[in-house]
Symmetry: C2
Subunit: 209 residues, 2 copies
């Protein structure tokens, strides 16, 4: 009895995984706009209505992808920032790599920041996951800087929020309003904004307030 219950759950999770995998593939390749319950089911090898045996609705399914994409993005960022020297320089390159991940997969940016969740019930964990993602990517660096008294806890908290706001704003302006006009200009602007944000931080450490 207990064993069967376990098997049942394993099988259920497996099938949920098929749908999640199909959704992820479409999201990465085509983007959010060309995602439908029918083409997800088709790719997963089931009929469209089967999805509703495993997910409350299609948004539930879509937001199940967030965790997977964050893991992917995390390794993407880690590879790209392996050689950066610790502290502020590393935080800078993490932020740039974070941005570049979403530039590579605009559909994932839309999932993370554009797609609205009505039905907030039960999705707060996912929202938190998204809102704290960049912070978590930089957490190690911030922590050791605070520990080594290179920066105050308060200043680092403030900087985390600033980075989140700036990266989100930059990505939205570029991906949805083509500002700046091309990638070269965009990434130059992004670097400039991130640099200035983090450099002003050191200044505020030297002065009193």
């Amino acid at each position: 009895m207990r064993v069967n219950m376990g098997n049942k759950e394993i099988q259920e999770q497996r099938i949920r995984g098929y749908f999640v995998q199909a959704t992820k593939e479409i999201l990465k390749a085509e983007g959010l706009h060309s995602l439908s319950v029918r083409n997800i089911a088709n790719k997963a090898g089931y009929s469209y209505a089967t999805i509703y045996n495993y997910f409350r609705d299609v948004k539930d399914l879509v937001f199940e992808c967030v965790k997977d994409f964050q893991e992917e993005a995390e390794t993407f960022v880690k590879v790209q920032t392996k050689k950066s020297e610790p502290g502020i320089p590393k935080i800078k390159s993490i932020s740039i790599a974070y941005i570049n991940y979403f530039i590579e997969y605009p559909g994932i940016f839309e999932l993370f920041f554009i797609e609205k969740m009505y039905n907030i019930a039960g999705k707060q964990p996912t929202i938190d996951l998204i809102n704290t993602f960049l912070e978590r990517l930089c957490a190690e660096e911030w922590n050791s800087m605070v520990l080594e008294k290179q920066i105050s806890q308060k200043a680092s908290d403030s900087a985390k929020v600033k980075l989140q706001i700036i990266t989100t704003g930059l990505l939205l302006m570029y991906l949805h309003r083509q500002y700046p006009a091309d990638y070269k200009q965009f990434i130059a602007l992004a670097a400039k904004e991130i640099d200035e944000t983090l450099d002003n931080l050191n200044l505020s450490k030297q002065s009193k307030k």
Copy 2:
């Protein structure tokens, strides 16, 4: 003949106006999600297909509202910032008022920054209108500050871009990812970020680089 051509154009513009007005009302009251070609036409007093005699598609129609909303937002901002003292303080309150307009009408934020335009052909003017809106709202203040040598042209250009990025990021995070959790926290954060952006500006004027 010439008179009839004129009348025809007047009538055509009138009918376009009915559709635009209906779209604006739905957008302000319900938001982008509950906007459809059928309920626009219904409110305008026409059949749904009639829209296609006056607009290429529904996105064309929707983006025709941008100019009107900007005019409305401009008077909203002017009323709210009438008493601010010129210069940086006025730019701060303009930015806050700008943000508050979108908070009051999230559907208009979505139209301005979320809704994608495929069919970029012919819509570049609208994109520019959106991207330069906050800049235009503050233009007078920036100009007189540059004129009075309180700030360099370069620094003011940089600040304009920063303000655009920060306000967009703040609005997206709050409206789509409930960060911060409530309006009180949100507007406090917005004020903090705007203040710091503009205060760092003065510092960069006193120091050399």
